[in-house]
């Protein structure tokens, strides 16, 4: 199966991807209002502050929405089809997108999932999910 499409890794996001390579989920927490966010957001989506601290979380969460992609949406991942992708509300973090590696159909909202790390190279891994046992 093809590797995931790689991210563009910036100095700001490098710690996130490096932690994922080690099997850890590292997000940011707003220094002003404690709202968690991915390093993709420069400013806090809630209060607009730009200062944030890294914080490691479990990566467990619950499905907000999901879909099964049944067509070649991108040539680089044509052999994934069909694949299930979900939006997951992390228990201790923001909402993120993630492939559900062991799902073959849409999942009910609220289904508990846990992280599964798909290595990309030496400095990054993509955080996917499996249905929690």
């Amino acid at each position: 199966m093809s590797d995931p499409i790689p991210p563009t890794i910036t100095p700001r996001t490098a710690p996130f991807w490096a932690a994922a390579r080690e099997g850890r989920v590292l997000i940011e927490r707003c220094r002003s209002c404690s709202t968690p966010r991915l390093p993709v957001d420069v400013a806090c989506p809630r209060c607009g502050a730009t200062d944030a601290d890294p914080v490691e979380i479990s990566g467990r969460g619950r499905v907000f929405a999901s879909t099964v992609i049944g067509y070649r949406a991108h040539p680089a991942i044509a052999d994934w089809v069909p694949y299930t992708v979900a939006l997951v509300d992390l228990d201790e973090g923001p909402r993120v997108a993630g492939r559900i590696l062991d799902a073959t159909s849409r999942l009910s909202a609220g289904t508990a999932v846990e992280p599964a790390f798909v290595p990309l190279d030496e400095r990054s891994a993509v955080i996917a999910f499996r249905v929690a046992q």
């Binding site: 992609i69 067509y71 949406a73 991108h74 992708v85 492939r99």
Partner: protein
Amino acid sequence: MPAHAVISGIGRSAWARRLDDDAETLALTAVRAALDDAGLAASDVDAIYAYSGFEPVPLTRLTAELGVTRLRAYGEFPLGADAIPAAVQTAAALVATGEIRHAVLYRSIKKPPRPPAPPASAGAEAPPRPRSAPTHAPKPTPRPAPPAMSFLSPHGVVAPTVMFGLMADRYLTVTGTPVARFEDALAAIVIGQREAAAGTPHAILRDEPLTRAEYDASPLYADPLRRADLCLDHDGAAAIVVSAADAVDTRAGEPTARVLAAAAALRPGREPFAIGRDDLESLHHPAEIDPLFDRAGVTRARVRVAQLYDACSFMVLQQLEGFGFAPAQRAVDLVLDQGLGAASPLPVNTVGGNLAEAYVHGLNGFIEAVRQIRGTSARQVDDADVSFFGAPTGGAVILGR
């Protein structure tokens, strides 16, 4: 009294799955057709607007090719079809102050050329492949996702269609609509718009009616959405001209489309590929569009015909609710109880929309909104004196006579 804005010209190139013309030729053809329709020359154009991030023909290039004497205003608008209300709003404001008299908005779409076909047989020149060589060259590493997509593409969120599937799944969860009833509504929209296209000579799918059995057999592309739920993808261009009402001649034998009100709309979290909002099942909400109806001086009940941007059939449900033409979470009922066809209280996407007429990023729908006012649609609605165009992020234009 400030000058009032009208849509003085509509134009298009040929529309077809494949066209030999390049994007620049298509764009120029569409803009010249729109100027002809308005009875204007290139030297009359004061302003040009384009779709930011999508348009293959640079605004500066089109300006040079068109033979414009001097631009007094220009701009590019993001968010796809929402460029239409944004451009009409901007042009109407500049028309009102007298800074411009005629503005053009254009969009061209041209798919990349097909890769050359592989030779039918290897031929004598092809060196024999060593037995030890791998059958396939190693797969090249794909280019990294752009920064803004770097937390989406690696997970397979690689196209708007993926987002449509996630939104539709969320809609089912939030509304509690049974999947079978949801599918009935989507099938009704898709089949209805195919029927509308069948009466429209220029529609891409005019000769491709769809039965319910064929809809049900269409493969799931982004569950619960099927291939048949998704919009067309083809070559072509379209353009419109916004003018000061007193700067164009009265149209012979048909009404001129007046801009009653136009507004862009963008709330944080509504941009495409934004996943954080809790109302992901919706595109926008009726209260947000109320001021536009107030400015236009009409109520929703006065709208005779609507073109609602439909990148997929499900988006019609979202638009009906988002603009307040259906009660919240009740668009499925409206579609199944009243329908959206010519005989329904509010005919929607009257010549097939993006699903069956054409996909020129909403401009085809806007042009149909203008035709309805003029009385020149292939599927003309009686007394269509108030015509609505709605874009996905919530921008809208209300046209009148």
